[in-house]
């Protein structure tokens, strides 16, 4: 009895969960309304009215009507039981009645297949709506896929066999852009970019990760503060794509400079590795830490003798994994001004020289595949 939470709190939680369920339902119906509007618009365009091609828009009173209408639908759903929100939060309305034999055997949930339950009907309807909507928004066209364009047939004719003429020697046309490199040279540059980004990123992330680990930082206000800052940094910087960073650094340094690519990869690496590292530090066995503390070790000694030995293998594994990702990313980062083999890739693509492009792609495939294999094998051995 002592363990039951205070009555008032319990009630607040219940109300909050109810409201959340209602909100989820509201969003669901908003989505349905959006879908209906989209389809109306889509077909409106296709009705051949004389000089009357315009998008269908809501009248001024339409917006409040839509908002209230979806809210009403959500409420009706909650009452009648067609509610996804309730199902998601496990807030089923239960009838007070004895279970029948089947339900006793299989449990209440197993009584009906999900498409016979009310939330199941709703879910199937939403799924169908999503597929239909996706089909229209993305303009899926199977016919176009099965019948390639004339340019595609040209490309297929030229790309096999790939032309490795410029594997060792540099392409004169490409040299005009101030890059006297062959495919091999640029591939080396690409691998080096990934290497530098990984080494730099790991070197920065390693010390930072201890500041982002709950168990190392302790529970003092200062500890909370530093922890929050470091974790926030990891989260925000991780959600900004490497490609976007490359745009920023291409403006900052120079379009097409490898350093821009390295900086972009490094920043993303720091954030991603930092998060993985600090989660690993948080998951260590506390026994050795206590032992070192009991022997009179200070915080640095705890890290050196109790934490590091436990996390080093997985740190290596994460770093290798990241190196693998960085090699993949660095092959295309030139698209947004990051330098490397992507420069050549997109140059040949723009020129339409498919045979030479094929050679570049084949080289990329070989290198990425080899790196993937190597890092996989190494990771297997380490962990």
């Amino acid at each position: 009895m002592n363990e039951s939470p205070p009555k008032k709190n319990h009630r607040a939680t219940r109300i909050r969960r109810r409201l959340l369920a209602l909100f989820i339902d509201w969003l669901t119906w908003g989505y349905v309304a959006y879908g209906v509007m989209y389809f109306l618009n889509d077909y409106w365009w296709r009705i051949p009215l004389e000089r009357f091609y315009t998008t269908l828009t809501l009248p001024p009173w339409g917006w409040p009507a839509a908002v209230l209408g979806t809210l009403a639908m959500a409420m009706i759903c909650q009452v009648t039981g067609y509610s996804l929100g309730e199902r998601a939060l496990k807030l089923e309305m239960k009838e007070e009645r004895p279970l029948n034999k089947e339900e006793l055997l299989m449990g209440r949930a197993m009584g009906k297949p999900f498409w016979r339950t009310q939330w199941g009907v709703m879910a199937v309807f939403l799924l169908a709506l999503t597929v239909a909507l996706g089909w229209h928004i993305v303009k899926i066209d199977i016919e176009a896929l099965l019948r390639p364009s004339r340019r595609a047939r040209e490309m297929l004719g030229e790309i096999f066999p790939p032309d490795f003429r410029y594997f060792f020697a540099s392409d004169p046309a490409f040299e005009l852009r101030g890059l006297p490199y062959s495919i091999l040279d640029l591939m080396m540059v690409t691998i080096f970019m990934a290497l530098l980004a990984t080494v730099l990123g790991a070197a920065v992330a390693l010390p930072l990760s201890f500041f982002g680990a709950r168990n190392i930082m302790g529970f003092s206000p200062a500890g909370w503060f530093v922890y929050g800052i470091v974790r926030g940094f990891f989260n925000v910087f991780r959600s900004i794509e490497t490609m976007l960073w490359a745009v920023v650094f291409a403006i900052w340094i120079r379009w097409g400079s490898p350093l821009a690519g390295i900086m972009a990869l490094t920043i993303h690496t720091v954030a991603a590795l930092g998060k993985l590292y600090s989660e690993q530090v948080e998951g260590i066995d506390p026994g050795p830490v206590e032992a070192v503390v009991a022997a009179g070790g200070d915080r640095l000694e705890v890290i050196r003798y109790a934490v590091l030995p436990q996390v080093v293998p997985s740190f290596w594994a994460f770093t290798l994994y990241r190196w693998d990702i960085n090699v993949r990313m660095s092959t295309v980062i030139a698209l947004v001004g990051g330098g490397g083999i992507g420069d050549m890739l997109f140059y040949y693509k723009n020129e339409g020289q498919w045979a030479l492009l094929g050679a570049v792609v084949a080289t990329i495939v070989a290198v990425v595949w080899a790196m993937d294999y190597l890092s996989g094998r190494l990771r297997e051995r380490i962990t």
């Binding site: 999503t130 597929v131 909507l133 996706g134 089909w135 928004i137 993305v138 303009k139 899926i140 066209d141 176009a144 896929l145 390639p148 364009s149 340019r151 595609a152 490309m155 490199y181 091999l184 040279d185 080396m188 540059v189 080096f192 970019m193 530098l196 080494v199 925000v236 991780r238 959600s239 900004i240 794509e241 490609m243 976007l244 745009v247 920023v248 403006i251 900052w252 340094i253 120079r254 400079s257 490898p258 350093l259 821009a260 390295i262 900086m263 993949r328 990313m329 295309v332 698209l335 947004v336 330098g339 890739l345 693509k349 792609v361 990329i364 495939v365 990425v368 595949w369 993937d372 294999y373």
Partner: protein, 419 residues
């Protein structure tokens, strides 16, 4: 009177004539040959890479050109093989380390210097023409009285890494790679600009605080297209990858035919996976008509997702608990029932969580695929960047960051719930 049998009737055949013995000899011969060869290849390859990188740095720093070997190729070849032979005879080489072996005397003691010398000399005779490797132990080991034994730490103090040759090798490799990387990718002007030119991005950051409100509706529409691109690609990829994964799981594909199907699928998938979606998008943008840009983006994401998901799913299938399968099979269930009651319950949650993870990645990728013209918000971003419209580009980036962050957050929450 006993019948007259030939003299050799009761005698056994000489052992070398028995087919099993010959087969054994060849089998074990080739097995050890393969092992020794892979050790030698690791050492030779490792030394070659180190040589190439070192000469790359020397050439780069002395002349500023790019070159890969300081010496003619035959000198390079002989030198590399010689150094590898010396390393294998006089120390514990990288290959030995990987195979967890070491060179010991027949009675287990430390090898003497003259034995190592004989080992090195005869190494040329036995490894280079490969004949000396066929008998076990091979020629150079038999003559020098040394043998490769499993490495044990028993009765020894571990050496620090800088006292072992492999440690020094790896340190040199890493060091020289970093020097080479710095020398070829970072120029002085770029470095100066990195530290002095931060102001040039100000126009960009400013737009984060005063975004262009007139393009918000357009951006949100493009954002919806991006989300649906990722969703459609993931949905179709799941439909293809789930059946494929059963053919790509080693523990389910037994026998010659099964193994060959497994190998073909795995190799094809790993090749497809090594090409970034952006490159696939280039290909599909040529394939389909120009008006169908989002469709080309979806196809690119789809192809990459199928290969990635197949690998993830198959690896999960390979690590299922065989005990449950045996238990269900013991009740007399057929293959389909085993699949239904023993395999599927074990994989449903991981499959859903992988799918969510992939959807998350696809959203990020969909923005990037747009940059080459694959539709969605990336296309807008690239358009604004090309036109030097920084405010608009910053606004679009703000939306992308918000979307990616939100999707990342929700997919992580859901996955934590599933695990």
């Amino acid at each position: 009177m006993p019948p007259k049998y030939p003299e050799t009737y009761l005698r056994e055949k000489p052992s070398w004539m028995a087919w099993e013995r010959i087969a054994d000899f060849l089998y074990f011969g080739f097995k050890t040959l393969g092992k020794r060869l892979s050790i030698a290849l690791l050492d030779v390859g490792g030394i070659a890479i180190l040589w190439i990188l070192t000469s790359y740095v020397i050439i780069r720093l002395s002349t500023g050109e790019i070159g890969y070997a300081l010496v003619p190729w035959w000198t390079f070849g002989i030198g590399v093989v010689e150094i590898a032979a010396l390393w294998e005879s006089f120390g514990r080489s990288f290959g030995h380390r990987v195979a967890r072996l070491e060179l010991r005397r027949g009675d287990g003691g430390d090898p003497a210097l003259h034995q190592r010398f004989v080992h090195w000399l005869l190494w040329h005779v036995s490894v280079l023409p490969l004949v000396g490797l066929l008998p076990t132990p091979p020629l150079h080991e038999r003559a020098s009285g040394l043998a490769l034994r499993p490495f044990t730490m028993e009765g020894r103090t571990p050496k620090p890494w800088w006292r072992t040759s492999t440690g020094l090798y790896v340190a040199w490799l890493l060091g020289i790679s970093v020097v080479a990387a710095v020398s070829v990718t970072i120029s002085w002007e770029d470095l100066v600009r990195l530290f002095t030119n931060a102001g040039s991005t100000a126009k960009f950051w400013r737009s984060f605080f005063s975004p262009d409100t007139s393009i918000i509706v357009k951006t949100v529409r493009a954002l919806v297209v991006t989300v649906f691109m990722a969703m459609t690609a993931t949905a179709f990829a799941v439909m293809v990858a789930v059946p494929l994964s059963f053919f790509a799981a080693r523990n389910l594909m037994r026998g010659l035919i099964g193994r060959s199907i497994y190998t073909v699928i795995r190799v094809a998938m790993s090749i497809i996976r090594s090409i970034e979606p952006v490159v696939w998008a280039i290909f599909f943008l040529v394939w389909v008509r120009v008006e169908l840009a989002p469709f080309a983006g979806v196809l690119a994401l789809f192809v990459h997702s199928v290969s990635d998901l197949t690998k993830l799913y198959a690896e999960r299938l390979e690590s299922i608990d065989p005990g449950l399968i045996e238990a269900i099979a013991a009740t007399g269930a057929n293959r389909l029932q085993v699949l239904r009651y023993a395999v599927i319950p074990q994989i449903v949650n991981p499959y859903i969580s992988f799918t969510l993870y992939r959807w998350d990645i696809n959203i990020r990728m969909a923005t990037v695929v747009g940059v080459v013209g694959g539709g969605g918000i990336g296309q807008d971003l690239f358009f604004y960047l090309k036109g030097n419209l920084w405010t608009q580009a910053g606004t679009v980036m703000l939306f992308i960051i918000a979307l990616v962050w939100a999707i990342d957050y929700f997919s992580a929450r859901l996955r934590a719930k599933l695990a």
